[in-house]
Symmetry: C2
Subunit: 167 residues, 2 copies
Amino acid sequence: MTGERQILVETLTATDFAPFGQVIEKAGAHHYTINKGMTERYHDLATVELGGENPRPLISIFVGQPYRLPLTLTMMERHPLGSQAFCPLGPDPFLVIVAPDEGGEPGRPRAFLTSAGQGVNIGRNVWHGVLTPLDNAAEFLVVDRGGDGRNLEEHDFATPFEVVISP
Amino acid sequence: MTGERQILVETLTATDFAPFGQVIEKAGAHHYTINKGMTERYHDLATVELGGENPRPLISIFVGQPYRLPLTLTMMERHPLGSQAFCPLGPDPFLVIVAPDEGGEPGRPRAFLTSAGQGVNIGRNVWHGVLTPLDNAAEFLVVDRGGDGRNLEEHDFATPFEVVISP
């Protein structure tokens, strides 16, 4: 596969991920003490977007089977009516693949590797890959949108991308 | 302390917790496979309640310092405008103290001990104790309500309760 279709994994940071959503993490977050000093609240870490007809937030648990690198990326999807947050319930890193929109299709994808303690909130209508744990199966708490209307759009690449750790 | 003010810790189950909210867990949940067989979605595990003016769901991380049993329960609180979900980001059990309302005050509390993999969503306006990890500090993903209006009511007991593992 030529380098042109290779996507090099990047370390997930709030700044780099900002065009696509938010990193859900304590680092850098506004926080304050409650419960007579016993609890620290890292406050309001994600912009939950609830569009369309009769929207409501859903809390679900996803159990994802692992993928291995290099990963062949054949498809991306997006949710036109709401955001989708993924918070790992264990310490293992996972891969977050996102892409800018280019005329209604995903442009060149970017692949971010999380660190322990990082979740993500993928913005409404942002192209992204499927849930991608690495090495081990993993559980995630997911906050996304329920309600009326079709909230899934998929795009198959004519030529797949290959996600790699090093070129 | 007399037995009348003693609260015996119970094992958390969805049935016993139903008057107060939902247990967020895979066991017994509606689930289905997505992502070409790679992900199992345990769907819509909590009723997120968003009342009052300009409500929106918040995703936050709480870090709670541990308590020890027996625990002296001097105060309970409730949130008139929204529900509050607590999902542990580690395997340790925690204590969930709730009470029915009796004329605008908490009635006799009940104390539930979670198992690994269980979170809770405490219903809008349900009396509850503060976040109560046991033994070790613990992190939780919290989904509650932001927006306008006062969303906290506290009640101090004239005589505290004592939460115990065995009588």
